[in-house]
Symmetry: C2
Amino acid sequence: MKLEFSQENLLNALGIVSRAIPSRTTNPILECILFDASEDKIRLTANDTELGIETEAEGTILERGKVALNARLTLDIIRKLEGGTSSVTIESGENFAVTIRCEDSVFQIQGRNGEEFSYLPQIDRDNYICLTQFTLKEAVRKTLFAAALNDTNKMMGGIYAEVNGDTVKFVALDGHRIAVNNVTMRETYGSAKVIIPGKTMSEVSKIMTDDNEKEVLIYFSKNSILFEFEKTIVISRLIEGEYFRIGHMMSHDYETKVTVNRLKFLNSIDRATILIRESDHKPIILNIRDGGIHLTVKSSYGTMDGDVPCTKEGRDLMIAFNPKYLLDAMRVIDDEEITLYFTNAKSPCYIRDDAESYIHLILPVNFVV
Amino acid sequence: MKLEFSQENLLNALGIVSRAIPSRTTNPILECILFDASEDKIRLTANDTELGIETEAEGTILERGKVALNARLTLDIIRKLEGGTSSVTIESGENFAVTIRCEDSVFQIQGRNGEEFSYLPQIDRDNYICLTQFTLKEAVRKTLFAAALNDTNKMMGGIYAEVNGDTVKFVALDGHRIAVNNVTMRETYGSAKVIIPGKTMSEVSKIMTDDNEKEVLIYFSKNSILFEFEKTIVISRLIEGEYFRIGHMMSHDYETKVTVNRLKFLNSIDRATILIRESDHKPIILNIRDGGIHLTVKSSYGTMDGDVPCTKEGRDLMIAFNPKYLLDAMRVIDDEEITLYFTNAKSPCYIRDDAESYIHLILPVNFVV
């Protein structure tokens, strides 16, 4: 095999597929990227068996063939070659000895037989939806923070996606809070309910562009999901099982409704967290009255009191939260003003817009005044 | 005590003195910054007994007094207060309970009695030199990398400064290499020989500006050194003992002289290091011939060969180095072209300019071809 690339094109393709390289593995073939130029195109693939990414790299095939190369080493070498415009040749010889050349530098590294590499599985392409890449990235940004990626309950480490006609609902939760993002699509599709691993959503999100015009096709099959955009496909296993029933938790009743400037509220809570260490489990106490929310934090480091003006309907209320959960939710909302709904000091707080494009449920914590 | 500051001025002063706060200590007063407004100025001081920093903060004294405040907590609070222009008041009450107010936020934290705090020692101001802050920063940048801050030999963790009339020589070494920076001053002074702790030089360097007009006064006493610039003074203990005699190592004989483009040589060595892990101790082999240096690295990851054009005088030579030492030296040189002097494969290499404003000595390592 002998291929020629511009440094920039090769680096770009390597950057995409290397996201499926596991950070730790004892199986050396999983640390490799397959360069497959056995047909008319140059395809780069990485596959850790949970998550697989394949992309087409722009370049010239001088001699057909395929070889698997250590991802980290190859990426390091290409990244350090001079100038973005230099041309790079990758040539594999006897016993998969590989020569990488660029201007005055010649690297010799040991490749592996491409036949050892497990290709991405074929996926049934019947059931799918189409979103803009921007919409999917935003849905991930607005929900993934609420997932618990390292929880023993695997389902808490996933994002639940529920397709129903022209809408798709994304949900993540960790037992203390729920984040919901509702998206309306341009066309109407069938229905699907899947739980996608958080890591998959995170990597897909990093590869996609912010471009609001470019689309991504998402194909659902029984055990797998496939994302297709531009010259890249990402395949991931799904998390098996039935997701938490969140419908009955999404109450619309409330006793107190508060509208507040998001940034003012966020900054005030953020300042209060200076006095709280994660291990402290100290809550922030909100005293909601006509005209304003009074915030209080007490810890071994000291106390902080703050006031944020608000518009209040309904009863006065004193309620306490883990400030991190309030901050996380408020940071992913784009609205200048946000509305919070409360029932009592023991019931969840909801932050949602009127159209329910987003809903954040946050459980309160106990407190002593 | 009651003081008023603009957030920006206070943050600036806190940022300077907090560089003398030790990262780990069991003595809580060492974690504090002293706010002293017992006279007409507001002085902030931190002192870990090795290194002490005092600066004057711009602000208004509403009530005289002094109090010591936890540095990290105070810095966190002031940093998070809204906008750079808000005014901040710091007021200490009974039992050194301190209230920090800014707009809608009120923090209460526990201060400590300012009398517990050890002031900076008085230093004799007879023997001194004057440099621009830029010159001193550059001298640190160009030598400190060669010091061994964690070596059991404390002297290797320092920068040696030798004043002689209108010149000052800065030296750092770690047993494998020596970096020398010779500075010519605008005026003529006496003489001094001191070893300044690397940490002191590093912190002073971070506090000073890049401004080539602003000056720093450096006072030498028997056991201490004092840096004075703008509204700040830094006092540090010196490392005791007699520094290594490097004079006899600074040979001017050579058998091979090579002039090379610094960036081309640096980039080529940098690429080669991709194949070397720190723990490997694999050398880079330079094969110096008419017209070019051929570089070779062999490791368990593969091999790399590179060619860098050069102008050579004298004998051909094959010599090997720890590539890190070559890179470190070349990164702090500003010249486009550099000249390397060699005697044989067992003798040190020198990189120096004709005026000897800098000299880098690097020991070679053994190699097998």
